[in-house]
């Protein structure tokens, strides 16, 4: 099997996983809207939790995966790890955008304002910017090995930075008591809601896997093409 065929096979797997997870996502939406009770305090606006929380969780996990793969890349120097790290970062950035858009949509009816420097929203914004920088830098390095090494360095540093950002935002919040807000996630959630939330998280993880697999395959095909062009010239 040639590398091209293998990459195309990976892409197809990614497509299938994505298709399945999109179907499942539709199922989760139906369940969230029709079969899960409306929140007593927040009303129908609370339904956005079933998108907001899963994409937030998935994006954070995507960045963590990028950091861990970066670390393994530096140890093993296998180009595939770099490709997977980059794919994970890119999907993480996309999920962060979803998180940063759904947050204010939820916030407006609940908090009465589009944007609030809520701890989690703020952390995500900063981490999102960090990984946008990561992606910009990848474009600014031409040599693929150098790009992989530089990206790995940023990925590892990002992994270490995330807890510091959380801590900073947390300290900032706790040392500056704000007027009482409705917390975005109720501490104890009725079982039906919890099942909906957990199944949504599962579906978004699957969607993540589908996206990353496809992105990985595209990167492999791009590399192959660059290689062929160099050989022909």
């Amino acid at each position: 099997m040639t590398r091209r065929e293998r990459a195309l096979g990976t892409a197809r797997t990614g497509q299938v996983v994505t298709a399945i997870s999109l179907l499942a996502l539709a199922g989760v939406f139906v369940r969230a809207l029709a079969f899960t009770p409306v929140d007593r305090l927040q009303g129908p606006a609370q339904k956005i939790l079933y998108i907001h929380a899963p994409v937030a969780f998935t994006s954070l996990m995507a960045f963590a995966v990028c950091g861990v793969l970066s670390l393994i890349y530096l140890a093993m120097r296998d180009r595939r790890l770099d490709r997977a790290a980059a794919a994970s970062a890119e999907v993480g950035v996309a999920f962060s955008v979803a998180m940063l858009i759904t947050g204010p949509i939820w916030g407006k009816p609940v908090w009465g304002t589009w944007w609030t420097w809520d701890a989690r929203l703020t952390s995500t914004l900063f981490i999102f910017l960090l990984f946008v920088g990561y992606l910009i830098m990848r474009d600014a390095v031409i040599d693929p090995d150098q790009r992989a090494r530089f990206s790995a360095v940023i990925g590892i540093m990002g992994l270490v930075l995330v807890p510091f950002i959380h801590l900073t935002v947390y300290l900032f919040r706790t040392l500056h008591p704000n007027p009482t807000l409705l917390k975005p996630s109720a501490p104890s959630m009725p079982g039906v809601m919890l099942v909906t939330l957990l199944s949504s998280i599962g579906v978004f993880l699957l969607l993540y896997a589908g996206f990353v697999t496809q992105r990985y395959a595209v990167a492999a095909l791009q590399e192959l093409r660059e290689e062929e062009m160099l050989r022909d010239s």
């Binding site: 946008v132 910009i136 031409i142 090494r149 360095v153 540093m157 990002g158 270490v160 950002i165 900073t168």
Partner: protein, 228 residues
């Protein structure tokens, strides 16, 4: 390599950078002009009837330091790249980490000098009365400066070999500056307000943790930024 030799090499690199900067002065003067401009612009960037200058002072100080430091950091490895001087260092038997520590030392010296001149100006411009709390301000300045010079030096080693190097450094560096700079602003605000040390402790602990973790991490990662 014995510690004494290691220290000698690190010092040689710091002294060389200091000499080059002393001869050219471009980066230092730019950073200084930049610092004075930012300090004064931020003084006017408020409604004087509603916000006192003391309220914006801590933020103004740290925005100034951050951006002035960036001028020096951007140059740090440009100097080694210009005539391939980095090759000259890599050929020698000195440990790679000594090169990083030396470059970081040079940057620390640069930023410390900018800060040493900026702080009196800051006190003057913002009419700050420190009343014996200057050592506290120096302590937090030192702690935060180590943090962003460590990260900045490592990123500078990489960005000089990317396209649009001058643009890349702030984009990559600023997210890493959030913890140290926010901490430094918080501590500075409490120092200026004459609050007790206990109120600053959580932030100082965060800063100290950041310093330790990122100094170790950047030294370890430096080798991965070199050509191979």
């Amino acid at each position: 390599m014995p510690v004494a030799d290691y220290a000698r090499v690190v010092w040689a690199i710091i002294a060389k950078d200091a000499m080059v900067e002393w001869r050219t002065k471009t980066a230092f003067l730019s950073a200084m002009v930049f610092a004075i401009l930012v300090l004064s612009i931020l003084f006017f960037a408020r409604d004087p009837t509603a916000v006192s200058s003391l309220d914006v002072a801590p933020g103004a100080l740290w925005v100034t330091f951050t951006f002035a430091a960036m001028v020096g950091l951007n140059r740090a490895f440009l100097l080694e790249r210009e005539n391939g001087a980095m090759d000259g260092m890599l050929l020698t038997p000195i440990p790679r980490t000594a090169i990083f520590v030396g470059k970081m030392g040079g940057n620390l010296l640069f930023v410390a000098l900018v800060e040493a001149i900026s702080i009196p100006l800051f006190i003057l411009f913002y009419n700050v009365s420190l009343a014996g709390r200057l050592p506290q301000l120096i302590l937090v300045t030192a702690m935060a400066t180590v943090a962003f010079v460590a990260v900045g030096t490592l990123l500078s080693a990489m960005v000089v070999r990317t396209r649009f190097a001058e643009l890349m450094l702030p984009v990559l560096l600023l997210p890493f500056l959030i913890p140290p700079v926010v901490s430094a602003v918080q501590v500075t605000a409490r120092i200026l307000a004459g609050r007790p040390l206990s109120e600053m402790m959580p932030w100082l602990k965060l800063l100290a943790g950041f310093d330790i973790v990122f100094c170790v991490l950047t030294v370890l990662l430096f080798e991965a930024t070199l050509d191979e």
